[in-house]
Symmetry: C2
Subunit: 270 residues, 2 copies
């Protein structure tokens, strides 16, 4: 599980155009001895473009956005990520409940059904009446089939629900980072708004105010880029995991039908 999650995290980082190319990430993936690692770490610690300073490295090749537009984009990202966070958490709780039911009560119930049929078969077998071997054999097979189905129900979540839950857990983690990111942007927007008043009070030149607007615009483009990356990954991830989930579900129900059909074929039409 830890291995699987580390792999998922590394894969995700490798997919990110900036992170995957960063020196410190490359070092993490490729360092051969402790010395390499320590030197790299020291270099990384000297990096001054951390936190919001990252934006100083970014030059969007596009016209500056109006502050109102920046604010509106930020609002819509915030709304979307909150809604998705709720949706993901809902799916997680439903999925975990279903997992428990499959491995708990459902498995037990199909086992009980299987035992009841086999029990009846063994009673019938003790009747002393001639010529019911076909029925008792078929009933026994039916009972064993339901016991196999019980086992299938217990094992199925690991084959499909597991992946659906893992991806949603990952997204829960990613979505959990957005409120902080978005509040940095909201703070910048507020500063720009204050800027207007400060210009009016002559505490700020128009030139300085324009720089603030430009910076907010840069932040907004950056967030937009991050969101685009997020959306494209999200579409890829959910498309993949849903196909995997449904493929396994189809196999599951088809296997049950096949097993029951085999049990059915053991009965003779009298």
């Amino acid at each position: 599980m830890r291995m699987e999650r580390l792999q998922a995290w590394v894969t995700r980082m490798c997919r990110h155009p900036i992170v995957s190319n960063s020196e410190v990430f490359q070092l993490f993936l490729t360092y051969k001895d402790e010395k390499d690692w320590k030197m790299g770490k020291r270099r990384a610690e000297k990096d001054e473009t951390v936190g919001v300073m990252i934006f100083s490295n970014i030059e969007p090749e596009a016209p500056d956005l109006e502050p109102a537009e920046v604010e509106q984009k930020c609002e819509s990202f915030s709304k979307f990520t909150k809604a998705m966070d709720d949706g993901v958490k809902d799916l997680l709780s439903v999925g975990q409940e279903h997992w428990k039911r499959c491995t708990g009560p459902l498995q037990k119930e199909y086992q009980k059904i299987g035992k009841a049929f086999q029990n009846l078969a063994s009673v019938f077998n003790s009747s002393g009446y001639q010529g019911e071997a076909t029925l008792t054999d078929a009933l026994t097979t039916t009972g064993k089939t339901y016991e196999e189905i019980a086992q299938m129900f217990a094992e199925q979540p690991r084959k499909d629900l597991h992946f659906l839950i893992e991806i949603n857990n990952e997204y829960k983690g990613l979505l959990g980072c957005f409120p902080d990111t978005i509040s940095v942007h909201k703070a910048a927007i507020e500063k720009v708004k204050e800027g207007d008043k400060m210009v009016a009070m002559s505490k700020l030149t128009n030139q300085e105010k324009m720089t603030m607007v430009k910076r907010a615009s840069t932040m907004s483009y950056t967030l937009q880029a991050e969101m685009n990356h997020f959306h494209s990954n999200r579409i890829y991830d959910y498309n993949s995991v849903m196909q995997l989930y449904l493929e396994e579900q189809v196999k599951f129900y088809e296997t049950i039908a096949t097993k029951l059909r085999q049990a059915l074929s053991q009965y003779t039409t009298l």
Copy 2:
């Protein structure tokens, strides 16, 4: 339900070689007016061969059975009917529990799964990101499919479990009559045993004792005939109901697999 059970009872009576030919049963099936019914009822009430007197009408065309053999047969019928009574009650309780789970928690759970997928689809739809209509449509279809599956789970017991439960309810009723029938036979066997002592005490002639043995033998043959009839019906009934049950179960799981396969086909491999 009452109609269905009356039909099941009449069908069962019609299958019985003695009951189906009895005057009173024929009258019940064919009487046209109240007068016919009353007259027939009065005739039936005058019938003196009721209760154990029925045995006086029976002449088995077979050698008398040894008292030990009679006792052994009676024991084995008693053992079988008790075991089958337990088996039937077990299957009934398991079946009823499964019915409740299908129409209750399982329906709700598949509904919740369906809603969670549809909810996520509608969040995704609000992303403002281009080109994810295929994913959101497919997710919506998946969600609706699970809601349909929820409905299928809720409706399925009426299509298969119902018949399994009805037949077992009938057999529970039939098996409930056996303890009384068997105790009549056991009482007769005890009388024969007492007969031995009474001959020793000269309270009974050997001839009278032989008559007792003969009568016990006749009762045993009658019970054997009844049991043979019971077994042959039982094999027929369980063979039929199990086939019906499994056919419906196969259809059920196949339909689920088909629905899920349709939902799966809506996703595109990216």
